[in-house]
Symmetry: C2
DNA sequence: GTGAAAGCGCTAACAT
DNA sequence: ATGTTAGCGCTTTCAC
């Protein structure tokens, strides 16, 4: 590998000068600059990022902590970050495995080992306090999908509670009175808030949800199938389902139809997230939008502005889901 | 940030000794080792990977070059790599944007700048020769979804041609004689090979595909919709569709049903890839499996074994798609 | 078993 | 405008 020294020698200048042209620094003669530049790509010089990082403590990397990359939701999140990162010539470094407290700590540690100053953290297991402490040590730390008051200008989040309410209003407007709920069995804020939102809003109209009609499962396709199976087997009546997310909703539809129920004729169902596929499911899924890509992009801008001293981020911090009405919900 | 020096000072030993215990090196007294270890996590010491990388030229990173991370296929690829990488305490570094020759070069350069020795490369635009040259400079370079004879023990690939043939046999077994094809409009080997496979196999039974019934589109949901629209508008008759991938197939189903055609009653359709969602589409999609996660994992093992001197990789290199028969294909 | 010291490739004072 | 030099934090000979 050819280094800055090789260039310096070949060009009869000092390494300092070469370094200056590499970094587009000032104080170097126009002629020299051109000469060195030419030499650099003749010799195929590529700066060693590790060496640079060692001295600057910045390696133009943006870290992302998520549970995994296979879930389309997280893939979308990663995608949004990647796009903005590239615009700012940063590379995306993914640290997966944030499925419990320890793995979250571990994931963030790995990023710190790399002296990664910019981190988008999808944390669901660390305490507020722990995150506050982390934020003091990591200047570019941004939380996504989580709101902490003390860190409110570093939190990009969606109002899940309001989302639940919006779904409730939609279902009530369609005259549904007996509503089942398929929710996640993970002990997290998101499902709780969505659930609370719908329950609170229904209660305003004196509609109560039967406890038997609230079923918990893993928040994925398979979980949706199982949940729907449980609902069907219970023998209870209901005309609509609120699903924690689209994946569960699509899984549920699959099971419902297999059991002879037509969606939405017999049962309406509304999802949450508006993943790409909800537009292509049969029937097309009514859902609540979760503008995760946009949020991810903003998080990245925020993180970058945090680390470049310009604390001039004026973007949005809180997002609201929007009702996306398609075919899976209809009048009772 | 606390460094190796701080530990050394505090423990009254030299940095060399500390370095040895960090790396579990030999030649350090049992008692000293314990003492230093204890001190390290008391003080919360974390080695600086950049510094280490500078001297060892290895930063325990595994690079991945793909066009983007949003596509579920590439997300799955990334996921497989990530899993094996983590088992080997490597971090996944994603370099996206390999959508043309220049961006592929650029993506791989960025990884090289980071002195990343292990790279899984999904290359569709660089020439065989260019890749061969690259492989000489990057000891852990592995190609995925591409076969190059000279690099055959570093290529993990799927036999697309055979895949086309398998689909053809399936459709013929169901008595279909007039078959339409929805393929990708990207100038790549994969669509060409799949197309050639099906055409060759049909021809064996003297079935020719009408040129009007071969339509090219972007290989995604929207492309599938447009392609199906074109097919429907053409007014030509056909009883089955071979789709380049599942995304297009699902998009096509959407359009077909919107136009009053029932799948598979009126028209059978077979996809390619067996993405997670094909199991949950309505009707469930018949398709050809593309074991991309498994392939990605093997690619990672291969890359790691390439860089650790043990060239003892004895895993699979070539993969065959398998017919996954579900509901979207039926007898004519 | 342990330490001293050189050096990885680069940046950033500080000279000139 | 250009050069000299001292590190950045670590690994790795080579001595002892």
């Amino acid at each position: 590998m050819i280094t800055i020294k090789d260039i310096a020698k070949r060009a009869n200048v000092s390494v300092a000068t070469v370094s200056r042209v590499v970094n587009n620094g000032p104080k170097v003669g126009k002629e020299t600059r051109e000469r060195i530049k030419k030499m650099m790509d003749e010799m195929g010089y590529r700066p060693n990022i590790n060496a640079r990082a060692l001295v600057t403590n910045n390696n133009d990397t943006i870290g992302l902590v998520i549970p995994e990359v296979l879930d389309p939701f997280f893939a979308a999140l990663a995608h949004g970050i990647d796009e903005v990162a590239r615009e700012n010539s940063c590379q995306l470094l993914i640290s997966t495995g944030s499925s419990d407290k320890n793995s979250e700590k571990n994931a963030i540690n790995l990023l710190q080992d790399r002296r990664c100053e910019r981190i988008i953290f999808h944390s669901k297991h660390l305490s507020d306090q722990e995150l506050i402490e982390l934020s003091e040590r990591i200047s570019g730390l941004v939380l996504i999908n989580r709101y902490i008051e003390e860190l409110q200008d570093r939190s990009i989040w969606l109002d899940n509670y309001e989302g639940g309410k919006i779904a409730a209003r939609h279902l009530m407007a369609l005259q549904h009175k007996s509503i089942a709920i398929i929710t996640s069995n993970y002990d997290l804020d998101d499902p709780k808030l969505r659930l609370k939102g719908i329950v609170d809003e229904l209660r305003k109209q004196s509609i109560e949800i039967e406890p038997d009609l609230i079923v918990e499962q893993t928040p994925d396709l398979l979980g949706g199938e199982k949940a729907a199976q449980a609902l069907v087997s219970s023998g209870k009546m209901f005309s609509a389902i609120f699903s924690y997310n689209d994946a569960m909703a699509i899984g549920a539809i699959s099971t419902l139809e297999d059991n002879g129920f037509s969606v939405p004729k017999d049962i309406s169902i509304i999802g949450f997230d508006d993943v790409l596929l909800s537009r292509y499911s049969r029937p097309k899924l009514s859902t609540l939008s979760y503008p995760i890509i946009e949020m991810a992009k903003q998080a990245t801008h925020l993180s970058i502005s945090l680390t470049t001293g310009k604390t001039n981020y004026k973007g949005q911090l809180k997002y609201l889901p929007k009702l996306v009405r398609r075919e899976s919900t209809t009048e009772r």
